[in-house]
Each structure stands twice: as C-alpha cells, then as structure tokens.
Symmetry: C2
Subunit: 912 residues, 2 copies
C-alpha cells in the first residue's frame, strides 16, 4: 500500500494509529499547527476544512533533491477534493472558487521558516467569482495583489521593495495616505504592475494556475526548513535538524462577507486579572487584520450577544470546551462567515503574573487541573512580580491616554522606577547619595565605569543595547528596573537633554520607567507594591509548601527583616550576620577600641561593653522566630573594615597638620595635636591590618581563633539572650555557625571555646539551651574534606558567594566592575556565577561535600545561605543535591517556596 | 613443655624457629638490642656472653599484676649459669665475681624507659674479689657507688640530688674538683653514705644479694614499659602499647684491667668525607666513659696496630665483617679485656651529607648494596647540603680550637650565615636594604612583626624557642640559616648587646652561625659552597635519573637561570614567567605606556616597542635549552603592579604641589605643573586599576582576553624567536601556557588568538615551529572541569601556589604575616601548605583533575610548576598522582631528581 503523506483534519486517528497516540509524536508528524487544527476538529469545534502534509514528506523531499515523494501530490489533490466537498466550493473555479492558505508548521515553533501564503487560488478568473460572491471588488483585488506580493517574496524569494514602491506611487497618484484608501480601480493598476515586476525579477509569469500556486507554495515551505535563518535558529536552540516541517492547507473563510460576517480574537479569561470572564474584540464585516490594525473601532466580545446571539452562544460553548480540553486559558481567533462560526486558531493565552496565579488556582479549584499542575504553571518570576513596586494597569492606561507614554524599549529588568534624569554615573551617584534624590540614569549605553551610578539610581534607561547588554545584565543583577534599546530616544550629552520626537526632557526632569513592560513615561507615575497578601498567591504558595522537599529559611540580621521573613513564610533564619550589628555608631566606638588596644584588659572591657547590645539583638530575633531555628554566624569580615579607610585618614591627617601650622593659640595647637595622635594611631593600626587580599585574609574563623575573646563574647550574648527569652516563654533554637572554615582543626578549636562558654552561661542561668554547632562550607578545601568536617558539625550551610569567589578565583567586587560583564556578554561564561550557581565547578564541589559528609553523618542538616538561595535555577540544583533547605533574602522567600516545589514536582515527573 | 622466655645470645635460631625468621619478628621478641647482640654472636663476632628475656615475658608480667611468668626466673638463672660457664666467673662469688649489666630493649628505640643498670653483682664481698682481679680499688669502689646510685634512681625511683650532694661534700672535703680525683678511701665513705640514703629514702637496705639485685632490675625494666613518659612517647609516635620490652643481661667486661686492656669507639668509614678509612679513638687501661669524657687524651684507632697488632687485625676483620653483614657503615663500641677483644655494640653510623653520598656510591660500586639502595640511602636534605653555603669542618675546628665557638643551640634551618648582629627587625631591614650590610638578626624570640627583618637578614639567631617556634618555621620557609633556643645567650635589648658567659657582643659586631649544626661563632668564618660537581653526587644523581619516572624541569625566567638549570640536570623549562622581563627600566616605560593609553594605536605602538625585547629574551632561553621543551607562560600579574604604588604617588603629588607654591620662577612652575599632570594621570590609572583583591582580579588569562593585543605580541615574540634560533640550528620546542584559566571558554578564545598569530609568523618566516598550547591548573574550577579543559590543551601544569591560595581561601602574602605561622605552631595545620602540598585539599583537587583529564586525553602531559615542585614530600605526591614531571627552581633540581627516584623506588617496594 502506498505510504500516507497527507492527513485530513478528521484523520487524526489515522495519524495516531500510525505514529502512536502521544501528543508529542503527533506534533512530530503533523507539526504543531496541523496537530492543533486536527485536534479541534476531533473535539467538534468548527474549523475550516483542510489537511496537513506530513513532516515525513518534507524529509523525503529534502533527501531526494527537491522531489515530492511518490504519491504525495496525488494524496494532496485528493485531500483538496474533500475540502472542496466540505466547503461547497471548487479550487480554481471561476464562479465559486475555493481559496486556501498554506502554512508551515514544525514540531516546535521556529522563526526563520516560511510562514504563510494566503489566498492561494486567486487569478484573473477566480477574482471575478470572488467579486460575485462578496460583492466587494476592492477586497478581492486587495487580496489578489497581496497574493502576488506574498508569493513573490515568500515563495520566489523576491525583494519586497519594488512592490512597495508601486504601492507608494499608487498612493501618491490617488492622493491618499494608506493602502486601505486605494480604490478597486487603483488596485487593479497595482496588480498589473506587480505582475510585471514578478516577471522581470523571477524570469517567469506569476503562476495563474491555482494548482501550480499550491504546488510551488508547498515546495517553498519544505525548502524553508533548510533556510539559513532556520538552520541557525535550530543550532542555537538545540533543535534536531531531521524533524522537518509539515504543511497545512486550509480553506480560506471570510469575515467580510456582509453584516452576518465578523472576525475577532478572544481570551477565555481575563488576561490581566485572571477573573473568569471572557475578554476579546471583534468587528463585523471585516477581516482579521482589521481587528489588530486599530483602524476601525472594535467592539467588546460580549456585544456579540446582541448582534448574533446564537453564534455568541455557540462561541461561548466552544471557548469553554477548548479550555476544558486544553486545560488552560485559551487565546482564540475566529471568523464568522455569513453567520457560520469558524475557529481559526487556539493556543494557550499569555497573561499577567497576577492572572497567571489566579487562573492556576481557580482551575485547580474547578478541578480542571491538579494542584501540582497549578503550582507548576506559575513561574518564580511571576511570583517575583508581587514583590516589586509596579505601575498598575490603570495608572499606565491613564498616562497613555494623556499622551504620557514617551517611548517603548526592551523590558530587561522588571519593576517600576520614578526619578530625575541624570546623564552620567557620577552625577547619578552624587544626586542619589548626597542629595538623596531619586534618579533614573540615562545613557546611550553603559560601560563598567558606570556601575556606581547604576547602583545609586532607581532605574536605568538606555537608547541602545539588547537583552544581554551591559546595562541589562547589571540591572537584572542588582534588581534595578531597566528599559534598554529605546531607539526612539535621542540623547544629547552636550546639551544635557534627550528628545523623543518633539518632546524634550532636560537633565533633572522627572520620568517613570516600567521595566516589566519596557515603557518610558513622562513625569512621576504612582507605583504600587502589588499585594503579597493576594489570596490566590497565598493559596498557591500553600500548595507549593505541600509539594516541596526543601525547607525555606531567610537571611535576616535585624528583627524587622526577621518579621518580614516570617510573614513571607520563612521556616527559620538561615543566616544572621552578626557583624552588621557592630556598625551602629555607639557600638562601632567600642568595637574600634577592641581593635585598637594591645592590652587584654582593655580588649575585654570593650567586648563587655558590646555584649548587652548583641544580647538584645539576638533576643529580638529569637522572639520573632519563636519555635524556629535561628542560625547565628560569628563575626566574619576582616577587622580593618571597622576602621576608617587609610587614604581618608592620610588626607585628614594632612588637613589637621596644616590647621596646626595656622592655629592661633597654643591651646588649639594642643587640641589639634591630640586629634593628630588619635588619627595617627588609627592609621597605624589600619596599616597593620591592611591586607593585599582581605577576602583571603584574616577573617572568618581565623579571627575567632586569633581573638578567642571575641568568640566567647558572641557565644555568651547568644546564650544569655536564649536564656532570657526562654524565661519569657519563647521556644528558642539558636545554631552557632563558624564562617570560612578550611580545616577541621579550626572547627575543633572553636567548638571547644563555644562549649566551655555555653556551659558557663547555661550553668549561670540554669537553663539548658537547645543549640547546635555548625559551619559554613564556603572554601573549596572545606567541601573537599567535608567528611572530616562533618565529624565536628551538626549542620552545614553552603556559602556559595565565597565558594564561587574561591572556586573561580574571582573577587566579585573587582570582577563585576571589570571583566565579568564582558565575559558574560561574550558568552565566555554562560551565566553570572554570582546569580546562578555554576553547576560544573561550584556545584561539583557541593556534590562532593554532600556525598562525603552524608557518608559519615547521614542525617547532617545541610543548607545554603549564599545569595543563590533565592535563585530558582540554583534552588533546583540544591534540591537535586539533597540539601535540606535554602536560605535567602526575605523578599525572595515566596519565590524560593515556589521554586522548591517546582524542583520537587519536576523530579517526580522525570526522576531524580 | 614449658614456654621459653629466655634466649641465650647463641639461641637466635631457636627464637627464629619460634617467631619466624624475619628480622622484624625477631626484634619484636628480643628487642632491638637483644636481637643485635645475638646476631653478632651468630656471625662469630666476640660478644660478652649474655641472654635476653623476651618481650612476651614482659607482657605476661604486666598482665598479671607484676608477677614473672611461671618458669621465667628459673630459665634466667639457668641462662646466668651458662654465662658463668662461658666467662669463667661466678655471679656473687667473692673471689672471681661475674658482674652483669641489665638493659631494656624494645622493638623500637624509645626514650622514657629504664635504660641500663651496670655492675650488677657488686656488694661488700664481691668488691673485694674485683679488687683482687683488677688491682684497682678506686675503680671498683667507684663502680660500686655507681651501682647503688643507679639502682636507687633507676630501679627504686629515688631522687638523684641527695646522692649528688654526698659526692659534692666529698669533693669539698678532699679539696678536689672532679669525682675522678676522689681516692678509694674517699669513695668508701661515699658508699657508706649512699647506703644510708638508700635506706632512708626507700625504707629498705640496698640489696646486697646479687640475685636480688638482678631480679629487681629485671622487674624495673618491665615496669618502665608502662611509665608515663614511655606511654606518652608511644602515643605521640603511634607505637602499639602491647609490644612490651625485652631485658638483656650481659656479662660485664673491663677495659681497665691493665695495659693489655683498652676500650674505644670507631666508625668503619670516615663519617665526614666518606672515605673508606676506619676512624676512631681508644684508650688503654680505661673504661668506655673515659673515651667520651675527654679527660685523657685519646689515641687514634690505627695507633692500636703498634700497641696490639694482633687484636687490631682482629678488630679490622670484625669491622669489615660487620659492614658486610649489615651492609652499611657501622659505629661500634669495643673493649679489650686482658688482650681479649669484645664488641659491645654495633649500629649504623651517623655521617655528614657528603659522607652519606660517597659511602652510598662506594658501597654500590663495591656491590655491597644495589644502586637502588644507594639512591634510597641519601635523603633529599643531604643533597640540599651541596646547594647551600656551609662552613667546612676544618674552618669550624680551627675556630673551636681558637675558642671562637660561642654557643650551641637547635639547628633548625641549614646553611652558613655571616653577618653583623642586629637586635630588631627594622634595623636589620634598614642595614640590609639601605646599607647593603650582611646582617644576622638576633632576638630572644621572633613574632610575626619581625618577618620583614628576618627576610632581610642572612641568618636568624634566638635565645628561646624550639624546632616549631616562629623563628624556626619562618627561617626554614624562606631558606634562612637559623639557630634557635641558644639558652646560653643573654640578650640585653636596652644596652643593645648580648652575653655568653663573660663574652660580650655589641650590636653591629660580626658573628657566624651554622644552621646545619646549630653553632654560633664569634667573628667572620669563611663559608664555602660545597661542590655540586662532587663526582659521587653526580654518579648518585645519574643513578637516580635511571630509577625515576617523573621528569624534572626548572622554573627559569632568564638565560642565566636556564644555564644553571641545565647544569643541574633540568630536562626543560617548566615555567618561564614572562612578566619579569617587563620590569627592567626601559621596558617598564613602554609597558606603562601600554597601560596608560586608551588609544588603540598608542597601545599597539607600545607593544611593538616591547616585542624585540621579548623576542631576544626568548631566543636566549631557546638557545640554552636546545633540544628541550620551554614552557612560556603569558603575562600573569595584574597591571597595577607595573605602576607606582598609590600612596607613594599621593605623597609625591603633595610634595610637587608644595614645591610649586614656593617655585621662584614661572618656568619652574610650568615644569612642576607638567610633572603634576603626569603623576595625576598615573594616579588616576592606578586608582582605576586598583582592586580590593588583586589576587582574584584582573590578571592571568583575563588580561589576555581583555587585551588580546598583549597576547598577540607575546605569541609573536615567542614564534619570531623560535624561527630565529631555528635558523641558527637550534632545536626549539616552545610551549605556550595560559595562566589562571577557570573556564574552558577562556582557553578556546586564547587558542584562537594564538593560532592566528602563530600561523602568521610561521608563514612570514616560512618555518613550522613545533609548539604546544596548554594551561596552568591553578584555580579549583579548572581542576574540577579538567575534562572539558583538556579538550583544548596539549599540556597541564599545576600551579600549586595559587591553587593552595584558592583552595584554602588564604592569601599567602597576608597569611604568613598574620595567622599562618600561629596556625602551624598550634598544630591547626600540620604543615605549611605553601611548603608541602596539602594532600587532603589541594592534593584531592589534583587527583580529580588528573582523573578527569586523563579519562578524555590519556596522553596529556601533566606537570607542576608551583614551588612545591622542589619539595620531596610533594614530589612523592606528584609521582603517586601520575604527573609526568615536576618543575622547580634550578637550585632544587638535584633534590627533585633524587626525590623523584625515591618516590619511584618506594612505589616498587610497596606498590602504588
């Protein structure tokens, strides 16, 4: 029997019988579009008749140097005859002509391939038939000239410009502005010109024969599979080259056949809010493109109930059926031809973050999808939407109506920002830091030198650059809303202003940018923080909590952070950085005393003064985290960070000395002299503590070992605070964490100090604190010797910031300002390893650490407290590595909860 | 049958039959001493008769609460009877008494156990018999008082001071200075006093009964196995606690029985030079201790040929036999009792480094040992001796004779140093750097603050501290000769002088220290660099070359280093650091221009100016390394290292501005203004290039990627030089090495640049250079992704300096001045990881890298070029990891050759 190359839309069962029933296999054979149309037919949705030539035919065609496989064309003709029968028209018939469209459709949506040729079947004869059918010669001639132009460029590969020139001349001749104003007569002249151009450029006449048109269009679709752009795209996207494309040939239907015809688009639910209300627009007696072109005022979809109540009822039924069938909100296109409803396309609808959450939750509640599916349908980025200030839809709509939308560009970093325009980084920083102004930094494009200004600014706007431009990368990195590549923007750095068309904005004037949608507005728009208490979000996250295996904790140093973390669902504190507490003025004075003295008694005294502050801080955290674990990391940064900077001190000293030279009285000299002595002491100590590479120097556990009094003070503060809050009825679980361990012996030593002091306090206070002792794993050596280190730890927390720095040999502070951004732009690094864990290097070390540690201590609690703890890709890696929890900034906690659920659910699907 | 507890020296075969013939097992049963004495008996060497009570008896004794096992004492008595028969004397006999010694002897030599009780068997009766036999009452009474004293302290655990007080009183009474001047009568009084003390302190009489003496001594030996010092020692040394100790009981012989008696010590070869001449000293009519005490002038051993020619001949025969039997140079003790030669002990002799080499080579040439054994008998440290200045033996002897030896201390870091005394680090540095003086830094002990002075000094001397003191660690680390813990030294920092006894040395006076032997001399001794061309050393190293599997290359940046490396046997250059070439003044000016400009044309011009210099440098290396590979590493350090330091620039600018204020003429102002501009530019660029952590910043391959012109210039210089020397007939093999790779994509990029430029030059010069392209593995990520990196490399070189820094998260520069030395002293780190590769961390990464790389590219050439490449322990690790070569400083090449051979030979013995 001859191989079947052609499948009518109602032959989906045959395709399934041949290829297997999986949707994936069917899409492989019929392409996405063809399979979807056939699927609609199967479930009884009215679709214009048509058929699909399989991807196998395409592959055969390409394998045999451009010859249709035996029997294919005959099968296509037979298919076409069935379409003629179903439609009641005849292909090429002068009186009752059938027109068809011809579309490519590969398994995966893919730019660079021939897309569509419409109106196939039109020629001098059939135009007359169409005019008779539609009574609209202008429409028919326009369709015909479009066919010639589309066929020329798409099938024959002719340049489009000569065709456009003809239209342009015709408009000038008719003194009209747009093509739609050209009359039927004008268009007839255009058609004559088009045919001449076609002949001159392709050395042949435009094929008047409909079958010839169809044959050539089909072959062109096949060939476009190997077009350069398509091949490049497949290479980049990692799509196999042997899939081939299918060709779908569908009867054309027309919404412009009088007042009982119409065309429109609709979403089955509200795509902004997610409410369960159909939304859409339509036009009667119109073509599909008229709805989107915005020339005629469209009508809201529910108006159709008045104009065509029965058809509307049918439409609502179909919409519901499609949603039920595809189990998601659908974005549909339809045409009503003389009262008969045809669905032309259905696909999952795009929606706002808010709508995505609500639709997912509602559909799960309706039992249309499972809770697992609901959770998987919302992306962590969509949850992130709820965490950033945003301009709401209405505000933006009002601004647009008032003409406030200045320009649009690429939405490279989400969120809303309002500020004064500053045209360079120094000014941006100066205004922001010194004058406390809100600034939007505006540049043609940004360079590493600009980073300080970008950090100081509320948002970033550039006229050039794309999604991977420096501005985009830095903005995403640091969470600054940004719009880039706004080509309408002309920036004049000399005159310190920018122009969009006639509008001029001077430096210092206010603008608002929407990084979520890529829009730039004049003036100050009101930004809102979307409601994290959105009930659908809360429900969704609660479901996510049921599915995830990873715990989610927060990095929080202050009670206010801890409070927020708890509200956002954190299950404990994964990192409290105790050193931040030393930077407040009163405490800093004591801490500097501790650093400056060489006398043990003075050092002890300074530490005793600090103790009550630390105790209060910890007590505050413990109260809020009642019942949950709180990991307190002992002091980490090098001591010189607590002293003034050396070059500042040098400048200050020089100033003081000059003032001394000119001091009018001896008393003043004495006074200045005293100050000089103080500064000189500070300078001396600062120099002594100065390090070539402080990141790799005297910090972390090394401090604790060299200054055990410091460890003792911090431990005492933790245990005194724990005993205090326990006496108030708080359920307290402190966990002491040692930073920067590289050798197990460091940990042994610190544990001895800790246990001695802890026991002392617990004896004094007569309360046995339930505490743990553990370490950061943030140095490669710690990961490599994790088995030994596990012997002396009750928990591990991966410090992936430092681990990334040491594993790559990259100082983050230095690198981001110099080579890291160019590295990422040039593709030397696939991602910023400080944003997403590098799986091959840092991830490999984490795997080694987990395997070694769990081998000796199977129940060891392992978490992560680097910034990666809030990054969805990194969270998935942590899940796969078997960590117990992630800890991240309070603002990332909801995202982490969802991402952790995704990781678990994906694993259920695919196995670990 | 009753278990055998006691073995006569001629019953070695029975012991072997019981315990197995292995020397190890026999030593386990009889202890080292007992086994050795029995062995001498077996090979026919005259040894005084005796027997050994086995370690099994000791264990039984200890297991049963201090009771001799059944039968043991009877067997000992029987043994003693045989000894009586052999010696012709009788234990306890008043007329012809046998005296014995009783010694402990465990399998391993072990301090803290009871050592020896001599003269057992003496009492009031037997002293008379001995006097009759020796006609020397003074000697006999002295022996008796020693027995009581030794028995008291060693067996009974009595304090020694009361006994010493008695002696002291006796000396005063007799108005003599030393004990040997006491007469027989004096000693009889001492004996009476000793007995009283014994009774008072132990509540019992000194046991007059010889069998009782022997029984108690034996039991005391057994008990000393569980003495506290012995237990502690075993714990520290990792020796099992159940080995037990044996007891050897040997007939005493006496060298002081008249002119046909003598006693002496000898080495079977010259222990200083290694020449094959017996060396030693003896005294006639004397006891062993007289020879070492130095009271009487000893005679050279070959003088014996005149005094007792037959005995001397016998002695020479025995010496030869012992050497043949033990297959090593022997250190022997002997006694001649009335013309009869007795050997009391033999053991492998200690020797100088020079002697060690010569003896090993000679013995292999004599076929006494194999070449493999010869190579294994010389330590890498002994080869190191040939590389450092040393004081020769004669110079030191002369200085000693002239009273120049000031004091001795611990020899913690080898080599000779001569310099002026400086009592603090700042002065030491100042004198050394500014006045170019040779300095010995002298401190009571050193602290991290002193390191700059220690580095500037030629040698280090301290009055306190031990082998692991700060001074010792730092000195070894940096190769400075050092003597520490010289307790005779009183340092007076106020008066800036030091005293040894009455000798006063003021700051600035000359001293000489010998770190090899731990000696301090007054004045300037002449140091010599031992001859690296020593023919025995050359032969030994040639043998080592045959056995080693690891290649040995050198790190050399200049032709003169390369020349030395080749002379010392390097098989190529493993690392040429190209940046050193940029620091010479003319070149530095061009290099700074390259850094300062933003104009590509100026940058290109500066690089073009540098090209000829680099080409000449490389050509010089290639000529010397004719036929051998030369690895050239592209520029590594951050660019700011080539600019003046920021705070210097700030000071200079301030000075210039002040000078400008006071400039008398406008022309001078202009001139100064120009200088200010220059400095300001330098400062601006230096600040722009300044990094928080330059070690992890913009350096290595990152420079090459950001400034590809730099890579191109260096590649061009290498290939032009290669073509040039090839035209002169040189066989040239350059290998280009990329530093600091962390991602394979960096390597890909650099390889593209390299291949393009290399091809250009080779086309221009029409010569196909045989080159390779590879990378350092010095970043953890590179090791972890070595499989991917291997795809783009033809060789790997482990940069273990940086790999240690990143794996530990330790900046070497900072750490050595702060926490690293305390870490090592406190045992937190077992070794300095910058001296010896940390096997658990850095070694683990190297293993991962080797395994991954060799899996994808089995023949990949892998080496090491960190400083560890010259460290014997690290070399053994490299051998085990399967590296192909080590590369080290030229001075370490001979050491590396030997260490590599050791690694291979040890592996043959034990398996990999």
């Amino acid at each position: 029997m001859e191989k079947k190359w052609v499948y009518l839309f109602d032959e989906l069962d045959q395709a399934e019988a041949y290829i297997g029933a999986s949707w994936d296999a069917v899409r492989g054979l019929l392409g996405g579009k063809g399979a979807n149309l056939a699927e609609m037919v199967r479930i009884g949705v009215p679709v214009p008749p048509g058929f699909t030539i399989s991807t196998e035919a395409c592959n055969e065609y390409l394998a045999h140097g451009g010859a249709f496989p035996a029997g294919m064309w005959d099968q296509a003709i037979t298919g076409l005859e069935k379409v003629e029968a179903l439609s009641g028209r005849k292909f090429g018939d002068a009186h009752n002509p059938l027109l068809v469209s011809c579309r490519s459709g590969a398994k995966f949506s893919m730019p660079g391939m021939m897309d569509t040729v419409l109106n196939i079947g039109l020629n001098e004869d059939t135009t007359q038939g169409m005019i008779a059918l539609t009574a609209n010669p202008r429409f028919v001639f326009d369709a015909y000239r479009r066919l010639i132009q589309m066929f020329g460029s798409v099938v024959m590969g002719l340049a489009d410009e000569p065709f456009e020139e003809v239209l342009s001349r015709a408009r000038r001749k008719a003194s009209v502005k747009v093509d739609s104003e050209l009359t039927a007569e004008d268009l007839q002249e255009v058609i004559a010109e088009f045919k001449k151009i076609f002949r001159r450029m392709s050395n042949r006449d435009f094929p008047a024969e409909p079958y010839e048109q169809l044959r050539m269009a089909t072959a062109a679709v096949f060939e476009s599979w190997n077009g350069r752009r398509a091949v490049d795209y497949r290479k980049a996207a990692g799509i196999a080259h042997d899939l081939g494309t299918a060709v779908s040939i569908v009867a054309m239907v027309f919404g412009n056949m009088g007042e009982t015809s119409a065309t429109g688009v609709a979403m089955t639910r509200n795509s902004t809010t997610g409410e369960k209300d159909i939304e859409g627009d339509y036009l009667t007696n119109a073509q599909g493109e008229d709805v989107v072109a915005g020339i005629r005022m469209t009508k809201e979809i529910n108006h159709l109930i008045k104009e065509m109540p029965e058809t509307y009822a049918e439409f609502l039924g179909i919409a519901k059926r499609l949603e039920q069938h595809y189990r998601d909100m659908q974005d549909v296109e339809f045409t009503i031809e003389k009262g008969k409803l045809w669905m032309l396309q259905t696909r999952n609808g795009k929606r706002s973050a808010q709508a995505a959450v609500r639709i997912a939750v509602d559909m799960a509640t309706e039992k249309l999808i499972t809770r697992e599916e609901a959770v998987l349908r919302v992306t962590p980025e969509q949850v992130d939407f709820f965490m950033h200030p945003q301009f709401d839809h209405l505000t933006k709509q009002e601004a647009k109506t008032a003409g406030g939308l200045l320009a649009t560009g690429l939405n490279v970093s989400p969120g809303a920002a309002v500020g004064m325009v500053a045209f360079d980084a120094d000014l941006a920083e100066n205004w922001a830091k010194n004058d406390n102004k809100a600034v939007i930094m505006v540049r043609p494009e940004t360079k590493p030198d600009d980073v300080h200004g970008m950090l100081a600014a509320r948002g970033i706007l550039t006229s050039r650059g794309g999604r991977t431009s420096h501005a985009a990368l830095v903005a995403r990195q640091f969470g600054r809303p940004a719009v880039v590549g706004v080509s309408a923007l002309e920036i004049d750095l000399n005159d310190r202003l920018m122009r969009v068309g006639d509008t001029v904005i001077k430096e210092g004037e206010w603008i608002s940018i929407d990084g979520t949608d890529g829009e730039v507005y004049l003036g100050k728009l009101k930004a809102v923080v979307p409601d994290i208490k959105d009930p659908w979000l809360i429900k969704l996250l609660r479901w996510a909590d049921e599915f995830r295996r990873l715990g989610v904790r927060a990095n929080a140093d202050y009670p206010r952070d801890a409070q927020r973390a708890r509200e956002y669902g954190a299950e404990g504190i994964g990192l409290c950085r105790t050193e931040h507490m030393f930077f407040e003025p009163v405490r800093l004075a004591f801490f500097q005393k501790m650093i400056m003295t060489d006398l043990p008694s003075e050092r002890r005294e300074a530490l005793e003064n600090l103790l009550p502050f630390q105790r209060d801080d910890f007590a505050g955290l413990f109260r809020i985290m009642n019942g949950l674990p709180v990991i307190i990391r002992l002091i980490d940064p090098p001591l010189h960070e607590f002293l003034p900077n050396i070059s500042d001190l040098m400048h200050e000293l020089a100033d003081l000395k000059i003032r001394m030279q000119h001091a009018p009285t001896l008393a003043q000299v004495d006074d200045l002299l005293e100050q000089v002595r103080l500064k000189e002491n500070l300078l001396k100590r600062a120099k002594a503590l100065d390090e070539a590479n402080p990141m790799l120097g005297m910090r972390g556990v090394r401090l604790g070992i060299m200054i055990p009094e410091l460890t003792r003070m911090q431990v005492r503060a933790v245990f005194e605070a724990a005993c205090l809050v326990a006496s108030e009825g708080v359920d307290v679980h402190p966990e002491i964490m040692i930073p920067l361990t590289s050798h197990v012996n460091e940990l042994k030593r610190q544990r001895d100090v800790l246990e001695t002091e802890a026991k002392k306090v617990m004896d004094e206070q007569r309360y046995p604190v339930d505490y743990k002792f553990g370490t950061m794993i943030e140095i490669p050596r710690a990961a490599l010797t994790a088995d030994k280190i596990a012997d002396f730890s009750q928990f591990f927390s991966f410090g992936t910031n430092d681990l990334t720095q040491t594993t790559f040999g990259i100082s983050r502070d230095d690198a981001e300002a110099s080579f890291l951004v160019p590295y990422i732009s040039a593709g030397i690094l696939p991602d910023n390893p400080f944003a997403t864990i590098d799986p091959e290097g840092v991830g490999a070390l984490m795997r080694i650490a987990m395997e070694k540690a769990r081998r000796v201590k199977p129940g060891l609690v392992c978490g992560i407290c680097g910034e990666h703890g809030g990054d969805p890709t990194s969270i998935e890696l942590c899940h796969k590595l078997g960590l117990d929890y992630v800890s991240c900034s309070p603002f990332r906690v909801p995202i982490a909860r969802l991402a952790a659920a995704h990781a678990a659910l994906k694993e259920q699907k695919t196995g670990p």
